[in-house]
Amino acid sequence: MLLEKLSNAFGPSGSEDEVRRLLARAVHDKVDELQTDALGNLIAFKRGTGAEPRMKVMVDAHTDEVGLMITRIEKNGLLGFRALGGVDARLLMAKGVIVGEKRLPGVITAPPIHLTEREQRSKVLKINQLVIDIGASSEDEAKKLVKLGEVATFDTKFEVLDEGGLRTVKGKAFDDRMGCAVAVALAEGEYAVDLYLSFSTQEEVGLRGARVAAYRIEPDLGFALEGTICDDMPKKEDVSPTTELGKGPAISVMDRTFVADQRLVRLLIDQAKANGIPYQFKQPGAGGTDAGAIHLSKAGVPSVAVSVPSRYIHSPVSIASLNDFENTVALMKAALSALPGAWS
């Protein structure tokens, strides 16, 4: 499964080569042209079958994942680090990681509970109090293996949790390898419009890849594909789950980075209804997507975001439903097939 390879691939923001190569291999024989740019975006162009001039549609998924950057090498060979993107300091203790160009296994240390005073245990250790142990016993030894600025990610392996039912899978980096896998599936289809699949870099550090990709593509419409927040655990208080697992693709109306174009929201709803595809709305308030950059490109691009709900994103391991994944592919195929006719 491509999703498995994508999830396991190493790709914190700016170090996305492994992901880019996987994607290039997956789409190169299904598209008309592949190009890369200065930021490392991979843009796959699929010529439309409609009459010229054709509408240009940009479908974006970001290749990076949140990670850690090595910022300090200590005398004892341990590695200090900072968050690369939105990493929650609370969940770093005692996790396995993969570090740097050499892909060295490491662990984030955690002082034993026995030597930790009760009062300390109620405090979150800050990122600069944690270190990665790769087994190097001195600064010199560590420096031979890792340079400052190299990055790390969690060592989580993709796995199928439930073959039936919700068809759940677990793995790291579902934000946004889910979106990447959906985009690859779209390359299979034939559309009247010109399709630009933009596998964009550096979303997690400020939507940077999508911004320049949109500038180059000059699309008429933009779709951002995501693995998005799904906070549907039972809770005492009535808090928004943002999205719910198993309820279909989540259509964004508004998030912290943009207000979705209402005509595109309508197009997606109409196509979902016409094709019997379940869908839900991503409840407004939390998160942002590359649509935030795309819709402001040049003189502006009508844009929307469609997401596969993914529990526990930005943590070492997320859970998502393959039903939602497949329904997202189906909805996007239907929407692209309805263009340009359905766009008014």
Partner: protein, 356 residues
């Protein structure tokens, strides 16, 4: 003996206190290769006997290493999610975002879910989540979950062995499976050495919940000496200098009221002979290892403790040096080989009457 695959096999086996069957099978198999006799006692501890060649009745020495591990237990099902309690003791803070195995009708991989930072309030971000607020997610819906998981099912950490640089290993349940591995190293070494005493190597159960296996197996075997092997604290950031020992610089030998001073001296002397670096590990309270139970079995037994320094104790990434594991086993084997018929006499307390 190839330590790494052995530690990997033992570490990745699941065996929360009282539910050690999976790891017991491995221990029975390995002990079976290395000893003359293997049996399992009423509580589930595995006992291997390796006979000495001294004249009968031969004195005997007990090696105790515990094979149970700390874990979690399912306490409630709520929609598609599991509440849990602790068996043993994890720092709540290491649980968030951890992968687990839920041992239900079948073994289900799962996740201790971390709500994404996007939806957390400023206040929530700065606070650890106590374990009773954490939930396990195995990806099953509310209809399917009760068919696979019941209250009382055990949960272990899902963690494959990690090989770090410099011969360091990281993984779960190193407390105390690395000592079980060291006991196997010891038995194998003894296969190449002459030893006069009988050796009982025991992989004890339920140490983490109160030294239960050591209590019953020591009573049953009535050894003349006991050596417990366990893990001690490795030096790491966030810990003080006292009570912590460099990983990779050799095992430690316990000192304090739990341990017989002559036994301590004898072990130190053997280490010196082997030119092995060892460190004294002062323990003020006779508690926390099988040595505490062995010492007060029946009319009392002289006991010592050999420990392997471990970083990140009671987490899924406990970290040891493979060399230290091997050293602990070799030290113990050399000590056992040094035991003669007179050794027990040397442990008798000198009353100083000869001085008068």
């Amino acid at each position: 003996m190839d330590i790494v695959p052995l530690v990997k096999r033992l570490s990745e086996a699941n065996g929360v206190s009282g539910y050690e069957h999976e790891v017991r099978q491995i221990v029975e198999e390995e002990f079976g290769r290395l000893a003359d006799e293997v049996r399992t006692d009423a509580l589930g501890s595995v006992i291997a006997l390796k006979r000495g060649d001294g004249p009968e009745p031969r004195p005997s020495i007990l090696i105790a290493t515990h094979m149970d591990e700390i874990g979690l237990i399912v306490s409630e099902l709520e929609e598609g999610f599991l509440h849990f309690q602790q068996v043993g003791g994890y720092d709540d803070r290491v649980l968030l975002g951890q992968e687990v195995l839920v041992h239900g009708r079948r073994t289900l991989p799962g996740v201790i879910g971390a709500r994404p930072p996007h939806v957390l309030s400023q206040e929530e971000r700065g606070k650890p989540v106590p374990y009773d607020k954490l939930r396990i997610d195995v990806g099953l819906g509310p209809d399917e979950l009760p068919k696979q998981v019941r209250v009382g099912d055990l949960v272990t950490m899902k963690r494959e062995l990690i090989e770090l640089q410099g011969g360091l290993l990281a993984g779960k349940a190193f407390d105390d499976r690395v000592s079980v591995a060291a006991a196997m190293v010891c038995l194998e070494e003894l296969g190449r050495m002459r030893h006069r005493w009988d050796v009982y190597a025991v992989a004890t159960v339920q140490e983490e919940t109160g030294l239960k296996g050591a209590i019953t197996s020591t009573f049953h075997l009535q050894p003349d000496l006991g050596i417990a092997m366990d893990v001690t604290f490795g030096k790491q950031p966030g810990t003080a200098d006292e009570y912590t020992y460099e990983v990779g610089k050799g095992p430690t030998i316990g000192c304090g009221p739990n341990f017989h001073p002559k036994l301590q001296q004898a072990l130190m002397a053997v280490a010196e002979k082997l030119e092995m670096s060892v460190h004294l590990d002062p323990l003020t309270r006779p508690a926390g290892t099988d040595a505490a139970a062995i010492q007060v079995s029946r009319e009392g037994i002289p006991v010592e403790l050999i420990s392997i320094p471990v970083r990140n104790m009671h987490t899924p990434v406990e970290t040891v040096s493979a060399k230290d594991v091997e050293r602990a086993g070799r030290l113990l084997a050399a000590f056992i080989a040094s035991l003669d018929e007179e050794f027990l006499d040397s442990l008798v307390w000198d009353l100083g009457l000869d001085d008068e």
